[in-house]
């Protein structure tokens, strides 16, 4: 990826330091819950596709906690981080990956299809860009009922070249639906760099000029900046009932999915590039800020990390000890029964 958006730290810490520590903790939990997954996958305990969020945590943690409980969220297939940030129990997420009946979707969705209607988390979707038209529909329903909720929709840079996304962005602007579109631009659509998949790589221009949607770019590795932009976007949407588009520049440390191994990744990106981005690790950047203002001591950090590891371990234990779906689940939920 050509451009590394490096910004100086803002002079003052823009929000409550206790809140800051809780967001730091959230990023740690997301990462610690995902770190063991490649190993577990290799052990054959989870299958299918596995898309890790590691490196992109500042976006979920910077944005999602700002939402109200009655707001809606939808995601693509890299959805674990969004779900955890929304408060979905990591136990139920990991159990879903294990294909257990205690999983969020009773083991029938898998990693890419995390749902929790109790938290208005309306699913992760595996077809690139396919979630965007759904989010416009959710936004339409909010507006139809006259509510002031918003619907947040996460997707990646690969989605920016899908026809349905452009149909949906046009419709979102035309119907002025309260949707926050969050493009997590991690530089690659699977193994194809942005410069190789998009004739115009300035997505803000494409969306603002193309569809008249208020659009903003942010350094997705910096939680403080993400939060600041997200606050502005959410306030705008609630006030005007109109869509907003955020492009968060970020980086995924792992391959696209499990099969995109370190060796495979050499076909499209260098170790040096990965290392360069890791120097701007979102958890490190934000931890440094918290330390600078005295909100986080090294013992706090150790304590938080130990807690995050414990949450991950407990989630894995829970999944390991959960039963598989009973066989009659095969035919259940194909249709919703009346009543």
């Amino acid at each position: 990826m050509g451009k590394l958006a490096v910004r100086e730290s803002p002079d003052s810490f823009p929000f409550d330091s206790r809140e800051g520590v809780s967001l730091y903790r959230l990023m740690r939990i997301i990462r610690r819950c995902e770190e063991p997954l490649n190993r577990i996958y290799r052990e054959g305990k989870i299958g299918g596709y596995l898309h890790l969020y590691i490196g992109q945590e500042a976006i979920a943690a910077g944005l999602i906690p700002l939402l109200r409980s009655d707001d809606y969220l939808l995601s693509a297939y890299r959805d674990h981080g969004h779900a955890i940030a929304r408060g979905v129990d990591p136990k139920r997420i990991i159990a879903e990956l294990y294909g257990r009946v205690t999983g969020c979707s009773r083991g029938k969705g898998g990693s890419m299809h995390i749902y929790d209607t109790g938290r208005n988390f309306l699913g992760g979707y595996g077809i690139v860009g396919g979630v965007v038209p759904l989010a416009v529909g959710v936004g339409f329903a909010i507006k139809y009922r006259g509510g002031d909720q918003i619907c947040v929709c996460f997707f990646g840079d690969g989605a920016m070249n899908q026809g349905a996304v452009h149909e949906a962005l046009n419709m979102a602007s035309l119907f002025k639906v309260p949707c926050l579109f969050v493009l997590e631009n991690n530089g690659y659509a699977m193994g194809t760099a942005v410069e190789r998949h998009s004739a115009v790589t300035d997505f803000i221009q494409r969306v603002s000029y193309g569809y008249g949607i208020a659009s903003e770019r942010v350094d997705g590795m910096d939680l403080v900046e993400v939060r600041e932009v997200a606050e502005r976007a959410i306030a705008y949407i609630r006030k005007r009932s109109a869509p907003y588009f955020i492009e968060a520049e970020c980086y995924r440390y792992a391959g696209h999915g499990f099969s995109d191994t370190a060796q495979q990744q050499k076909t499209y990106r260098s170790d040096e590039e990965i290392e360069r981005w890791k120097q701007r690790d979102p958890i490190e950047i934000f931890g440094r800020r918290l330390r600078e203002i005295g909100a986080l001591s090294s013992s706090d950090e150790e304590e938080i990390d130990a807690e995050a590891r414990r949450i991950a371990d407990e989630a894995i234990d829970y999944a390991e000890n959960s039963p598989e779906p009973p066989m009659d689940e095969l035919y259940e939920h194909v249709f919703t029964e009346a009543g």
Binding site: Y72, G103, C104, S105, R106, G107, K108, G109, H113, Y115, D116, T117, L122, G123, Y125, G126, I127, G130, V132, P133, L134, A135, V136, G137, V138, G139, F140, A141, I142, Y144, R145, C151, G163, A164, E167, A168, N170, M171, L174, F175, E332, H333, V334, F335, T336, E337, A338
Partner: protein, 328 residues
Amino acid sequence: MLNVKYGEAIRLAMIEEMERDPNVFICGEEVGQYQGTFRVTQGMLERFGSSRVVDTPISEAAIVGLVTGAAMAGLRPIAEMMTFSFALVAMDQIVNHTAKISYMSGGQVKVPVVIRGPAGTGNQLSAQHSQSLESWYSHIPGLKVVMPATPNDAKGLLKSAIRDDNPVIFMEHAGLYGMRGEVNEDPEYLVPFGQAHIMREGSDVTIVSYSHMLNTCHRAADQIAQEQNINCEVIDLRTLVPLDVETIIRSVRKTHRVVVAHEEARNTGFGAELSARIYELAFDDLDSPIERVAGPDVPMPYAKNLERAAIPHDDDVIAAIKRVVNLA
């Protein structure tokens, strides 16, 4: 009873359901200001306003996404496809999203949408506007597939579709929009899914069909009754999913001879599924092999004579009947 056209019956169903439930709305291309491409939504914009009769851009994928997302958030939307040929643009939304969300979410999310509009062949509309693809939708677990043949069924089935908690593909036939018939006025009159209708009783041959093709089957049944004294039982499936297998099998056990008939192409058409089900469940009851009447496996040609050859007609059904009774 009201005497109305098929298209008007569909409009009545939508009006009644929109008056009954404020969560029902309709969206699609030209449904509002233009009054509907086939006039099915005529007057509805004036009656319900632009928040509930929603004109959309020509963006079928986004239209299906719109109704699916709105349904996930608690509404009961109807999407009109200008024709079902255009729904092909939205196939990823319909197949990968709308149909599967209930299952993928472990039953947490329901998707009560109706995707309706004209399907079927005819009128020299040629390859891209004249085709019948009901077997595609029937193949997708999670979709219900409805194909009404009469004004009364159109109304009663559409009302059931709107009240159903699942995605319903409601395929009207453009060639039936002008068909008149008696329609039950009771706003609580529903035609349930999965109940085939024996339109004509007979003892010699069972004809299984649906939608516009039933008219062809009736004419054929009339002619063969007159000419050969062969009495056909004609079954209107009404819904392909769910499929009323019991009614079909009961009839087969009576007649022992079966013709299945549809407009869509023969290769992996719905008739193949019907034939297989009958062979699985009633093989020993059959006195002759099942005959399939279907469109030939060609894109729809434009020229009048070729188009006529590409859509099954009375003669094709009569020939099939003669074959099953060994007269051919």
